[in-house]
């Protein structure tokens, strides 16, 4: 049976034309057994010598201990993962994967809509499931992403996708689970990233703030109208946010901006809120915790926000927030963020070295993001009843010297870990007569 799978796989690989993205996985309803693995559940727990059973695309059994009584013929695939680690698929938050292909080619950009108040704009239909970049990201264990629009003051709605599928509909895990907004900035960076001018006091900050409040005031009033004609698509898109059933993601970095955002959250009694960025979130953990606000750290591998700040401030931020009871997930926002998403595990690794407990780091990559986007019942941990979206690594996936993902599964289907880059690697190694890994 196993050899048959291999043949199927080989057919896949040879069928891949160079430069194309791998064919999506097939063979649902497979019964898979992974045994002898170290299972990092995603909820902070670890099971040594674990066995995991997959059936109908989800875990049916996860336990540790003796598997001698298991009947091998019950399974379509058995993976002996001795010495290997198994993790829930990592989730990258606030991502533009699939919304961009080449940073400097505008024609490939679909993340920044024109306009300012765009709650009705949706990232999902623009998501390119066949992005070449995505194939290089899942190779490192990042199997899901929250695809988010980036423009305006209110950017639009984000959706959770997994990184396998023929099109965005295939890839959708949860559509329009939240709305993103860029909080007005009290301090404005002048110049641009390479040639930063001074960060100046934004004289329009108070006015922008009032405008945001006024907009939500009207959006709230709209929801109570008895007759919604003519229909306001923008206000409609905020209905779940105002009702507290969908999540509002607020991009903000300066501590005082975050505090203003918290005041806003309290005023409109928003139930589900996440700060994205949060460079100075460690200064306002009390306010965040009291209001049940989580943080998506935009990037760990970045420079401190102030010249006087500790040089490792971005590195220990996650550990500090988690130790003070704030839920944390990770993004790779900023310059070249799409392709750098594949380094998400290493960013978490850095956070581990600077104080975030290892299994907590795994949780920040799995269970917490699943919780934020509202799919924790189905994703984020290796538990019975959860989607079999996971990967196996020979070594610690958070460290670049040991991250070696040998197999990955999305919804119970094994995915092809080759990509454009591995193909070029093989093609030219062969040309030069070099052995490959």
């Amino acid at each position: 049976m196993k050899s048959l799978i291999h043949i199927v796989l080989l057919t896949f690989i040879s069928g891949c034309l160079l430069g194309q993205t791998p064919t999506p996985g097939s063979g649902s309803n497979q019964r898979i057994l992974i045994r002898y693995a170290t299972a990092h559940i995603g909820n902070g727990e670890v099971l040594d010598n674990a066995y995991l059973e997959v059936q109908n695309g989800e875990f049916s059994r996860v336990a540790n201990g003796n598997t001698s009584r298991i009947n091998e013929s019950d399974y379509d695939m058995i993976i002996d993962a001795e010495g290997k680690h198994i993790f829930p698929g990592f989730v990258v938050m606030d991502s533009r994967l699939g919304l961009t292909e080449i940073d400097q080619v505008n024609a490939t950009h679909d993340f920044n809509e024109t306009g300012d108040l765009l709650p009705n704009v949706r990232s999902l239909p623009a998501f390119n499931a066949e992005s070449k970049i995505i194939a290089t990201v899942r190779t490192n264990g990042v199997l899901m992403g929250q695809i988010a629009p980036k423009g305006g003051t209110i950017s639009g709605s984000s959706s959770l996708v997994h990184f396998d599928g023929w099109n965005w509909q295939d890839a959708t895990v949860r559509a329009d689970e939240g709305v993103y907004m860029n909080w007005p900035q009290r301090y404005r960076q002048t110049g641009w990233w390479a040639e930063p001018g001074p960060v100046k006091t934004n004289k329009k900050y108070q006015a922008s703030l009032l405008a945001v409040h006024a907009y939500f005031e009207e959006a709230k009033a709209y929801q109570a109208l008895t007759s919604k004609h003519p229909e306001n698509l923008r206000f409609e898109a905020l209905a779940d946010i105002i009702a507290g059933t969908a999540r509002l993601y607020i991009r903000a970095n300066w501590a005082r901006d975050i505090l203003d955002a918290v005041q806003f959250v309290r005023k409109y009694e928003l139930k589900k809120v996440t700060i994205v960025g949060g460079a100075e979130a460690h200064l306002v953990t009390t306010e965040l915790r009291e209001n049940n606000i989580s943080v998506v750290i935009d990037r760990v591998h970045k420079l401190p926000i102030h010249p006087d700040a500790p040089i490792d401030e971005p590195y220990w931020l996650a550990g500090k927030l988690v130790s003070e009871g704030v839920l944390v997930a990770f993004a790779t926002n900023g310059d070249m963020e799409a392709m750098l998403s594949r380094n998400l595990p290493f960013q978490a690794g850095t956070a581990v070295h600077y104080g975030l407990p290892y299994e907590e780091a795994i949780r920040c990559l799995t269970q917490t993001p699943a919780k934020l986007v509202g799919v924790e019942e189905r994703y984020g941990t290796l538990e019975p009843g959860k989607s079999a979206t996971f990967f196996i690594s020979e070594g610690d996936p958070l460290d670049m010297i040991t991250n070696r993902v040998t197999q990955a599964f999305i919804a119970g289907k094994e995915i092809d870990l080759t990509n454009h880059q591995t193909e070029l690697y093989h093609k030219f190694s062969e040309k030069h007569g070099q052995k490959t890994q």
Binding site: M339, H353, Q421
Partner: protein, 1009 residues
């Protein structure tokens, strides 16, 4: 009297028009050879000589005598100056009252109007600034009120700006006002109103300056001439007028010093107010003109907002007034300038601040008089009140260090050019006023140049009438009205003071127009009260304590630079990056900054400082082959296809925080590269990250010359919205750019074979001998490449262009040294090996532009396997902090061994930079550039504990907590000081950011950063 000064001007007009020898006289001659004596005054004859109760005697525009026993000749107008102080007029060597920011579209700017001159409009040394007389009255009077009588002014526009003029600001006739028509020559690195793209960077401005000087030398010696060039003529015909070089950025001092040596010139520096930071790097004592404007305190209240303002900004606010003091104590001569300060009050406040900040009254006065006079070579005419000098002086109510200091009158060349209405504050007080038979109380509350504030009320009543009072020359006018909205007239009174202001009387009209008499007698009690209140005015003359400066003067700076460079590291896992590989438990003995021995069981003196590294790893300091940190004024001189003439070493910013942060990441050396906007970029700077040292100390002294080349999208300006048609715009044109450049270089080399040029270390000194051939700074580096004296680091991506440049190089008989980025190196690795070129690449970057579509993270591994010397570089201030992790990715991608991976950030970049004889590995005899890691140096779970350069510890992770505490304490101390400032306008919070250049960074206005 609303316009006393206007009236005064009219009165003075005939006096000033005296003595115009060559001018025809309309009417009867009016030569006035009378004397003027200013008696009973406190006279500051010179900075070092002050006389009380002295007499100053002047005649015919000059000082005749000054002293306490001066005999007053017959025919003297005597001015009793009791209670007044006389100063020699201040001289401003860099007056900027005419300054407006140069505009690129200004049709009248020197860069547009110059003719028959240099190709580049920022170069117009032939331009002669001539003031337009009379100077705007408001400006003139404000400057005279600031004590400044003599100004040196030029047109602040361009790199070579032409000459300035020295004149009396208070005298309206050009021929009488001017002291020197072409007093000074002016230079800067700012291109001002020039509309040309070149230069587009600070380094380009320096290159343009150098090339112009060389052109002038060549032009002077060439014959017959093919062109008449007014600019080059002007440079050759330069009189002995002093040259003043304006520094927008204090760090440009190095560039000016280099130019001074290269072209055997002396420059007076015009500072920006931060020269105290470089006072110890200036070498020999300099003449520096320093501004008197200081930063306002920041409007800091909220502690979260306070984080926006860095310690560097806070420290500068505190230290700025000490700039003159620090420079003086470091042995430099300083002149003070009002520069572009708009109000004389701010200027006087600045002077006062300086005297509270370490300098004495005499030192400040010297900076305002004798020092600028000697800078401008006019010390025999102005600057003191010694006999024979021009009678330029002003009278004031005290020393400028006193509160309420005010210039009362200003005389230029023996003529009064500024006067203030006499303000008799002695009249302030309350008076019993009787009009006809009615008793009133008149209260003169304040009297100053703005007018009089007064009230009149009926005796015994609280309600005051609406009252308007004017007092001139002890004559008083009082208008009294009654009622709120439309007050009705009660009295209009006029009269005079007498008996020293104790009594006033006169007449007036009442509401029916009938004449009335009135008299007022001062209440003695109120007079003494007002005197007392004057005496109790706060003593704000206390000296400020001298701020401590660190190196650099910002967070993480050293109090004093570390020097210890001998020690032994024991029991470490040592990654030698040499043939010895990885030593599991070894010692490293470092002596005087060099590695003495490495191995297990090293015998070292027991007195040696021992660092136990048990369980920790030691690697060579990492070397970043491709970095743009610690630079200023732009990284790309992009305006031409070749910018071989620019030198990155001219743009080093040794105070950049990125240096410290990279030390914290284990990087000890870097090649600072020009950007990639043109096929032939600029010359590299190879530095060690010696945090706290100056730029000169950071430059690696025995490094060979490198130059940046570039290929691909950046060069052909593919991602630039407006490429302006600069050739080349395709890869086709890129090849031809190289072929053309090296063809020209070959021709130049053969023609210039006779030319002799000597290079001394660090600073190039050109022989000033005449050349038959024009020296071309753009071709010379290319000749060096052809002669294998300079080496190419070439930014490259796709295989076509990689092959192309190797072919061009082969055809001209040289080799490309390094392909940097080289993301398709894996496709042509065998050809690279054959050519002998190395590769310095990103670990896993791709997809950021079209030409990196085929970039793969296996690149480094494939190139290494093929035999290419391969390095991993950053090109990024952030990634430069984690080069070890980037190298480690090649273990994952391509299965490289750990040793090989580490070599890519140590010995391999050292080889590529021809520095492997002294760095890159841990071997006896090499520089002790070392990193002690907390764990496995390639693991994400590891960080540098300590980083050493030449045996000196520049970074210690264990210091970080202590440093953060110290930073917090120091910040709080200065913020408290700011909060204590009262009555001064504050500036809105803004944070200064350190620059983060990348290859493709194109900046606007490099000179207005």
């Amino acid at each position: 009297m609303k316009h006393p000064l206007l009236l005064l001007g009219i009165l003075l007009w005939p006096i000033i028009s005296l003595a115009q020898e060559t001018h025809p006289v309309n009417g009867v001659h009016d030569v006035r050879m009378v004397y003027h004596a200013f008696t009973n005054a406190r006279v500051h004859v010179s900075p070092d000589q002050t006389m009380d109760a002295a007499t100053l005697l002047v005649q015919d525009g000059r000082v005749i005598a000054c002293g306490t026993a001066i005999e007053i000749p017959a025919g003297t107008v005597v001015h009793d100056c009791a209670g007044q102080t006389i100063y020699p007029s201040f001289i401003d060597a860099y007056a900027g009252f005419n300054y407006t920011k140069p505009k690129r579209d200004d049709k009248k700017s020197p860069s547009v109007v110059n003719t028959a001159s240099n190709w580049n409009p920022a170069i117009h040394p032939e331009f002669q600034f001539t003031p337009t007389f009379p100077i705007d009255k408001k400006i003139k009077e404000d400057w005279l009120a600031g004590g400044i009588g003599v100004v040196n002014v030029h047109e602040r526009d361009g790199i070579m700006r032409g000459t300035g003029a020295l004149f009396h600001i208070g005298i309206d006739q050009a021929n009488l006002s001017t002291i020197l028509p072409h007093s000074t020559s002016h230079f800067s690195f700012s291109k001002g109103s020039s509309t040309f793209d070149y230069p587009s960077s600070h380094i380009g401005a320096i290159a343009l300056f150098r090339q112009t000087m060389l052109d002038a030398q060549w032009y002077g010696s060439s014959s017959p001439r093919k062109e008449i060039n007014a600019s080059l003529n002007a440079l050759n015909n330069e009189n002995l007028a002093p040259s003043i070089f304006e520094l927008r950025d204090e760090l440009s001092y190095r560039n000016v010093a280099d130019l001074a040596i290269e072209f055997d010139k002396t420059f007076i520096l015009k500072g920006n107010g931060k020269e105290y930071l470089i006072r110890e790097h200036l070498g020999a004592p300099q003449k520096i003109i320093v501004p008197t404007a200081f930063p306002k305190p920041y409007d800091i209240k909220d502690p979260l907002d306070a984080r926006m303002v860095s310690l560097e900004q806070l420290k500068h606010w505190e230290a700025a007034p000490f700039n003159p003091y620090f420079l003086t104590t470091a042995g430099h001569a300083i002149a003070l300038t009002r520069d572009t300060i708009r109000s004389h009050k701010a200027f006087i406040a600045g002077l006062k601040k300086i005297t509270q900040s370490g300098l004495s009254h005499a030192q400040v006065l010297a900076g305002l008089t004798t020092s600028p006079a000697s800078f401008l070579h006019v010390q025999d005419q102005v600057g003191t009140l010694e006999p024979g000098k021009l009678a330029n002086f002003f009278l004031s109510n005290g020393d400028f260090t006193d509160d309420g200091f005010k210039v009362i009158a200003h005389w230029s060349k023996g003529v009064k050019v500024y006067d203030t209405p006499e303000v008799n504050t002695g009249l302030i007080g309350s008076y019993n006023l009787v009009i006809e038979q009615d008793d009133y109380l008149l209260n003169l509350k304040t009297i100053d140049e703005k007018g009089v504030k007064a009230t009149v009320k009926p005796k015994g009543s609280e309600a005051a009438f609406e009252t308007r009072v004017e007092i001139t020359n002890e004559l008083i006018t009082i208008v009294i009205m009654e009622g709120e909205d439309k007050p009705s007239l009660l009295y209009q009174l006029t009269g005079k003071f007498s008996l020293g202001g104790t009594i006033a009387d006169g007449k007036g009209t009442d509401k029916e127009g009938r004449w009335v008499s009135w008299a007022a007698v001062k209440d003695r009690k109120s007079a003494t009260e007002s005197e007392r209140s004057e005496a109790t005015s706060a003593d704000s003359n206390s000296m400020l304590s001298i701020p401590r400066l660190s190196h650099p003067n910002r967070a993480f700076g050293w109090d004093s630079l570390p020097t210890e460079n001998s020690f032994v590291i024991t029991n470490a896992v040592v990654w030698t990056c040499a043939d010895t590989g990885r030593l599991e438990q070894a010692d490293i003995w470092v002596e005087n900054g060099k590695i003495k021995t490495v191995g297990s069981g090293v015998l070292y003196p027991s007195s040696l400082k021992r660092i136990d590294a048990k369980g920790r790893h030691v690697t060579p300091g990492m070397i970043d082959e491709h970095s743009h940190i610690a630079l200023r004024g732009g990284v790309n001189e992009w305006a031409q296809a070749s910018s071989a003439e620019v030198r990155i070493k001219d743009a080093i910013d040794p105070s950049s925080i990125h240096i410290y942060r990279q030390l914290g990441g284990g990087v000890t050396a870097a090649q600072l590269l020009h950007g990639s906007a043109n096929p032939i970029g600029g010359q590299s700077a190879l530095i060690k990250l010696k945090w706290g040292a100056g730029a000169e100390e950071m430059l690696i002294d025995d490094a060979v010359g490198f130059i940046k080349f570039a290929l691909g999208e950046n060069v052909k300006r593919s991602n630039t919205p407006d490429p302006k048609g600069r050739f080349p715009l395709t890869r086709m044109g890129v090849e031809q750019t190289y072929v053309d450049a090296f063809t020209r270089a070959q021709e130049y080399a053969s023609a210039a074979a006779a030319s002799v040029r000597t290079e001394t270390k660090g600073r190039a000194k050109a022989s000033i001998t005449a050349h038959a051939q024009r020296r071309d700074l753009q071709l010379e580096p290319l000749v060096e490449i052809l002669n294998k004296e300079r080496f190419i680091t070439c930014h490259s991506y796709v295989q076509s262009e990689i092959l192309m440049l190797m072919q061009v190089a082969d055809s001209f008989g040289f080799k490309v040294n390094t392909y940097t980025h080289i993301l398709e190196g894996y496709k042509v690795a065998p050809q690279m090996v054959e050519h002998g070129v190395g590769g310095s690449t990103f670990s896993d970057w791709w997809a950021y532009k079209y030409e990196v579509s085929d970039a793969i993270p296996y690149n480094a591994a494939i190139m290494t396997k093929a035999g290419v010397t391969t390095a991993i570089n950053s090109d990024d201030a952030e990634m430069g902090r984690r080069l070890n992790q980037e190298a480690a990715k090649s273990i994952k991608y391509g299965g490289m061994s750990e040793e090989q991976a580490l070599n890519m950030v140590t010995i391999n970049p050292a080889r590529l930079l021809h520095l492997d004889h002294r760095m890159g590995s841990i071997e006896a005899g090499k520089d002790a550039d070392l990193v002690i890691w907390s764990g496995h140096p390639l693991s994400v779970y590891s960080h540098p504990d300590q980083t050493y350069i030449e045996g000196i510890k520049y970074f210690d992770a264990n210091d970080q907590q202590r440093m953060q505490t110290a930073i917090a304490v120091e910040r709080t101390r200065i913020i408290e000081k700011m909060l204590q400032v009262k009555g001064q306008k504050k500036q809105a919070i803004q944070a200064k950011e350190d620059k983060q250049y990348h290859c493709d960074t194109i900046i606007e206005n490099y000179d207005q950063e």
